[in-house]
Subunit: 109 residues, 2 copies
DNA sequence: AGTTATCATCGTAATATTGCGATATATAAA
DNA sequence: TTTATATATCGCAATATTACGATGATAACT
């Protein structure tokens, strides 16, 4: 198959999984880290920095944009990408909640 | 292609991405949530609970085991799966660090 | 208008993932 | 020892992902 049965899971489960999925690629982690470090950057910076083709970087940026982790604003002929702080904070809290739970309980093994 | 160029990224980036990748499927999120809620469970419980085939659940459990998020202990003819608290805590901290950074800075847009 | 710079999109090849039936393995019970 | 139960693994088909060259689209500069 290759297709997940999203209909049998809750909205919450699908949303969280989708967020993690987007974060689940080293290039996208590297892109986020570079954007954070430089407090925003353009696509070409990432091409130089990461050593991936421009088309590839653009595709990764698209996926990050699709879940609103980053946003781009046009600046002349280039586009400045930076973290969407509100969404970032939301994801952070979402993750925190998810990871906090089990530590309050005792596992069976 | 379909293959990531892991060699151009740092160990850290690859490890974090791999963790997120494993969490990036609703079935695996649901499995973890059920294990947490029940404080451990067996494969068949998950088959009944999620409505996926036994082979499919087993495969998802394998991926979760591969990054040590869960561990299984044999109990008679079944295997009890539960959260590996140490690894869970480690991931939690890893995530926290990753998400904390940018909020201290001001973005360009 | 023509040129250059920057980024997005299209098309494609290679590979990965998802899901499941069938089968193998292992333990417990009869 | 046979049978039932629980899980893992194999093999396959359908689909998704990754990467990149080629091509478009847009804006600035000459």
């Amino acid at each position: 198959m290759g297709i997940s049965k999203t209909e049998i899971f809750t909205e919450e489960q699908n949303r969280l999984a989708n967020l993690f999925k987007v974060l689940g690629h080293p290039a996208r982690i590297a892109i986020l880290q570079h954007i954070i470090k430089e407090e925003g950057c353009i696509c070409n910076d990432l091409v130089d920095e990461l050593g991936l083709a421009q088309a590839t970087i653009s595709q990764h940026l698209k996926e990050l944009k699709q879940v609103d982790i980053i946003q781009g604003t046009i600046e002349g002929k280039s586009i400045c990408y930076c973290i969407n702080q509100n969404v970032w904070k939301e994801i952070q809290e979402h993750c925190q909640l998810f990871f906090e739970e089990p530590l309050r309980k005792i596992s069976c093994c």
